[in-house]
Point group: C2
Chain length 161, copies 2
């Protein structure tokens, strides 16, 4: 059995993905965040979301240590903001200088200018490969604007395959 790598790439890139800003806060109360794309729902009751996070990033370790994260849904015209949270940052949390945010009930960053955001408590994970799959229970939800969300396909970027 051999894996056809080209077919695999084409097929995995057909999975629709969004673009979200994941927010975290470490034990020193420093916020950090990154652009997440590999997100899906994991249950209705309780409401679960699933997010795969690159193992090398600084936020990955913070989620492992704190067992919580926020997920902010970007508006369809916020591609530039998604780009800010993709790029390397000069210091932990400095990407958040680009946006206004509040802290939710779990103490996690919720962007003021966005569709809205949820805060999640990690209830399980699968660590295998270059990402960790975190499963989080949605504990709070803050809706700012019920407008169309940004999706990966519309940006012309690829993340997957």
């Amino acid at each position: 059995m051999t894996l056809n790598l080209e077919a695999k790439k084409i097929l995995l890139r057909k999975i629709p993905h969004g673009l979200f800003i994941c927010g975290v806060k470490d034990e020193k109360n420093e916020v950090n965040g990154f652009t997440a794309s590999w997100v899906t729902q994991g249950s209705f009751n309780p409401p679960l979301v699933v997010m795969a996070v690159r193992s090398e990033g600084s936020s990955h370790e913070i989620i492992k240590n704190t067992n919580k994260f926020s997920l902010n849904v970007l508006k369809s015209d916020q591609k530039d903001l998604a780009a800010v949270f993709f790029k390397p940052q000069v210091a932990l949390g400095s990407r958040f200088e680009a946006v206004e945010f509040v802290l939710g009930d779990l103490g996690l960053p919720i962007l003021k200018d966005s569709v809205g955001g949820v805060e999640c408590a990690v209830i399980g994970d699968v660590t295998h490969g270059d990402h960790t799959v975190f499963v989080g229970e949605v504990k709070t939800a803050y809706l700012n604007n019920d407008v169309e969300a940004l999706n990966l396909n519309s940006t012309g970027w690829n993340y997957g395959g």
Copy 2:
């Protein structure tokens, strides 16, 4: 801390989702399948996919027992086929009377008329709530037609929130 259920529903429904036919085969070599929507990627290397499956379905138990599943990517004009695999079936596997398929190297159904399909070996799962989150390593990939894939939003259906 109270969860705003309406905000939660609106925000979770902003997560883009596709529509896939998940195929399984039980210990008696009977094939079965269902329409899956909560799917995302979980790693580049090895290539992992993540799929949440309703705990009550017959395919759920088969995946738990066999630790493998296929995921077929539907073409944008195959909404009717997705509907067939949503509905209750008269007997295990009878939905597959509606389509031609071959068996991949892992013995799992790959639809002949589709964008293509992958076969996955389960490497981990998180069981919590009304679905199980399965993480599978992509072992084979069969590309039929590199055309636009069906997505949930275009169908007018909701599954999430």
